[in-house]
């Protein structure tokens, strides 16, 4: 399908607009979707959008030639398409594809955006108005606004193009209610401000906003307010002058309603009924009547009591032993005077060695109180006596002055640990020292073996050579016949070479020990060996022949 350019200056004569129209119409399906071509039996919502745009182009180019009854059938198709719209729970609507085709599954964003484009183009082209269901248009607007971060440039295009189509078109324009701030502080006397704009932020027609109901998060019932907000034309916001009387700090849901002042606008703009917005009201919580005391266990009499001022730092010094109890109590009140229950209220005792214990402060309705009975806690504290720092933490998300205060310290005297008591857990290394330089590693080398003194070794070298000398002495003693060397030249040479060969091999071994590696040695040995074999064979065979001659002779 080609989308024809809609240029108004060029006078385009379409030859057979009616036939083209009919052929486009032929591809429509019964549920409002369109097929891509006559060959492809699958229908697609995206194709529906394209078809509507094309039809709109056709109409704008050659409106006189097209039968208006066909335009009415297109309107019916659009209605059928809207019947198939899908919804999320929060009211957002979108169009999705039923069939996934092999090339390019169109996601809901592009399908919905294409339909919106088509409808807008069609509505602009035909002079008649489409009676589209307002809540579905509003739902589509919410869907497009709800796309927080588009995944790609294409998604961004779909989102913004669809919003622009919804913003200024002949289809009804949705009006969006937004709040610049949803957290209001009672102590700062913030005012509730509400803005009403079209989807892309342009200004709305004159209207009024009413706060209808307030739901508080805990209870199911809601108070009905029905208070109108004052319009401030300079900033284009609606302001709630004063909050209703019985609103305390906490989390609420405010329900607003927009009403258009001009009845003509009611046809063009969609207000969307009641809009619910979560609001947080925060304030300063007063802390009073705070006191800390050491009690005697059995009787309950107060041994030592100190008053605390929890708006600033305190530094009390208490003494206690394992037979006594520690009691901390305080009261929390909201700005309107009611008792307040915070989300977190912890008491932390930290020993000087770093072992920490955390306790939750309980709420007895009127006040917050915690009693630490040291008799039962002796084992939990690992029998560690000494100075414990006390820290109190109170916090909540509507409490503007949540605090973490150190209250001082208590000297605890606990009995000694028995044999089988648990050891306190090893304290975590300070994170700075974990990444700092580590202790230097001193390598312990194996101490070298004790070697004998040099003189002893040299002495033994002499001793070892003694038998060698003795061998030669013995040879001389035996009057060994060294004259059996052959006299004639050739055998003499061979004999000499034989002795030389053996000597060279022994020399090679000596070199091997001092310097060479095995492979070089083996290579050289191979060469010398071959030489030696040859020479030795000649010499010895000569000797053998000589002795054989002697024997035979």
């Amino acid at each position: 399908m080609l989308i024809k350019d809609q240029t108004s200056e060029v006078d385009v004569h379409l030859g057979d607009a009616d036939r083209i129209f009919r052929s486009i119409k032929a591809l429509s399906q019964s549920d409002g979707r369109w097929r891509y071509s006559s060959n492809n039996p699958e229908s697609s919502t995206y194709a529906a959008g394209i078809a509507l745009e094309t039809v709109a182009g056709l109409i704008s180019l050659a409106s006189s030639e097209i039968d208006h009854s066909l335009v009415a059938t297109i309107k019916n198709d659009i209605m059928k398409l809207f019947d198939g719209v899908e919804r999320y729970d929060d009211g957002a609507c979108y169009f999705d594809e039923k069939f996934v085709d092999a090339h390019g599954h169109q996601d809901p964003l592009s399908a919905s955006s294409s339909v919106v484009r088509g409808i807008t183009a069609f509505a602009t082209a035909t002079e008649e108005s489409l009676n589209l269901p307002g809540d579905k248009i509003m739902g589509l607007a919410k869907f497009f606004l709800g796309v927080e971060i588009p995944g790609s440039a294409k998604d961004l295009y779909h989102q913004i193009d669809a919003l622009a189509c919804l913003g200024n078109s002949r289809v009804s324009v949705p009006l969006i209610l937004s709040l610049p701030a949803t957290v209001l502080s009672v102590s700062r006397k913030d005012q509730l401000k509400v803005r009403v704009n079209t989807v892309l932020g342009s200004s709305a027609p004159p209207l009024s906003v009413k706060l209808m109901q307030i739901f508080s998060s805990g209870s199911k019932d809601a108070s009905v307010i029905d208070q109108e907000l004052k319009f401030d034309p300079d900033h284009a916001v609606h302001v709630l002058e004063t909050l209703p009387k019985n609103i305390d700090v906490g989390k609420y849901i405010f329900s607003f309603e927009i009403s258009l002042q001009d009845p003509e606008h009611k046809k063009r703009y969609i207000t969307g009924g009641r809009t619910k917005v979560p609001i947080y009201i925060t304030g300063l919580i007063e802390v009073n009547n705070a006191e800390i005391a050491v009690l005697d266990s059995d009787i309950g009499s107060i041994e030592m009591q100190k008053k605390l001022d929890l708006s600033g730092e305190n530094d009390v010094a208490l003494l206690a032993n394992h037979l006594q109890k520690l009691r901390l109590s305080f009261q929390l009140t909201t700005p309107s005077g009611k008792a307040f229950k915070p989300h977190q209220a912890f008491l932390k005792l930290r020993h000087e060695s770093g072992v920490e214990h955390i306790f939750v402060v309980g709420d007895s309705g009127k006040k917050f109180e915690i009693i630490l009975d040291f008799l039962g806690l002796v084992e939990k504290f690992f029998y560690l006596s000494g100075k414990y720092d006390i820290q109190l933490t109170v916090g909540d998300f509507v409490m503007e002055n949540s605090f973490l205060r150190s209250l001082g310290h208590v000297e605890l005297d606990l009995p000694d640990a028995p044999e089988k008591a648990a050891r306190p857990p090893p304290q975590l290394v300070d994170s700075y020292s974990r990444y700092g330089p580590k202790a230097e590693i001193i390598h312990i080398f194996r101490s070298p073996e004790k070697r004998p003194p040099r003189e002893l070794s040299l002495a033994f070298l002499g001793f070892v050579l003694l038998p060698f000398i003795g061998f030669f002495a013995g040879l001389l003693y035996l009057r060994v016949n060294l004259k059996n060397l052959p006299r004639s030249t050739v055998p003499a040479t061979f004999a000499f070479l034989f002795h030389l060969g053996i000597a060279s091999v022994l020399l090679l071994y000596a070199l091997f020990w001092f310097k060479l590696d095995l492979f070089t040695t083996l290579k050289a040995l191979g060469i010398l060996g071959i030489f030696l074999m040859f020479v030795g064979h000649r010499t010895l065979s000569h000797l053998a022949s000589v002795s054989a001659k002697l024997k035979s002779a």
Binding site: L456, F463, L466, P467, G474, L475, L540, A544
Partner: protein, 116 residues
């Protein structure tokens, strides 16, 4: 009665052995001398190790084994060369000597490698 004191007996024994030994051919005596030389060298090495400890044990082993190995090869040579040995009658002594030389060279290659 004869003077049958133990020392006299030992002396007589020694004399008979000595005279028997003198009858052996010269080349056998050379080989015997060589064996003695090798064994003595080994003994001296063992004494040295006993004194200073066996720190480079591989060196000690290679030294002792070289002596012992060459002694063993010399013994083999003596057996093969001895004319009174009927088993090796057909083996020419030069051949035996060539074997002796070859085996010694191989032994000493291994020894030098192990010496470290």
């Amino acid at each position: 009665m004869g003077r049958s004191t133990p020392s006299k007996d030992a002396q007589a024994l020694f004399h008979s052995l000595h005279s028997a030994y003198a009858a052996t051919p010269t080349n056998l005596k050379i080989i015997d001398l060589y064996i003695l030389f090798a064994v003595f060298t080994a003994v001296i090495q063992v004494v040295y190790m006993a004194i200073v400890g066996s720190f480079p044990f591989n060196s000690f082993l290679s030294g002792v084994l070289s002596c012992v190995g060459t002694a063993v090869l010399a013994v083999c040579l003596r057996i093969q060369v001895n004319k009174e040995n009927k088993e090796f009658k057909d083996l020419p002594p030069e051949r035996a000597f060539a074997d002796f030389v070859l085996c010694n060279l191989v032994l000493h290659l291994v020894i030098m490698n192990f010496l470290g």
